[in-house]
Amino acid sequence: MSHAATVHHTSMGLDNRKMAFWAFIGSECLLFGSLISTYLIYQGRSISGPTPAQILNIPVTSVSTFDLLMSSLWMVLALAAVQRGDMKWAKIWLLGVAVGGLIFLGFQYYEFSSFVHEGLTLQANLFGATFFVLTGTHGAHVAVGVLWMLTLWVRALQGKLGPGHAITVEIAGLYWHFVDVVWIAIFTLVYLLHK
């Protein structure tokens, strides 16, 4: 394998960027842990509606969950393509991940819009406040991920992304998969196990 990019190894023989990124993901666990805890603590304690049972749309959210899972698959396929130097498929999969993320954000926009239309806002009740902060923070992470994927895709189009830069794509992939696993937790705890 050719290494066009500079290798950044620590004294442990591990890439320092990857190590730093895993530490960042660890800190993100604490951020989302606190937001999910807040949601669960206030669940069922709203003194006025709308309640989760009245408003959550499980079929629509199931489709957006499927979309995010598929984008995770496309992300690993993009990484595998970059590692073997197949830049044609790397570009296709990277664009696929970005489009998958945009579709997820579209579903979230539809969901938020319909909730606001039905009277659920940040100020409406405890459910609205905790729900919008939790899922909105996740959505913001997806938006950052989409911008990251589009940046990688543009760099690939410019010929500035190759097997020597696989670690760059791998770190972007770590971020994207983390956003996916956070959604796996939110989908179960917020949508399927609502009171």
Partner: protein
Amino acid sequence: MEDTTTPAQAHPTAATYLRIAAILVIITVVEVGVFYVPAFRPLMVPILLTLSAVKFVLVVMFYMHLKMDSPFFTFLFGGPFLLAGAVMIALLFLFGVFALGR
């Protein structure tokens, strides 16, 4: 068991990634099924939490490569993850979410 890693990167093959994706989709379909079938209502919480945990582990182990990568990355992720889990459980007890008869 077949070797699903490539020697150069020690990452799974595309076939393994596809199998994992298929399992993730199947588990998601089962989760939604459990949500809608009244017979599962008494066991819904443990079933859904278990299925969600399986999906979480599959993504972290295979898509994020923790199964193949340095154990130090597992430590960097697992330490804060366990801390977050412990804080969550403590907060839920503290605020009476697990209290009986609520």
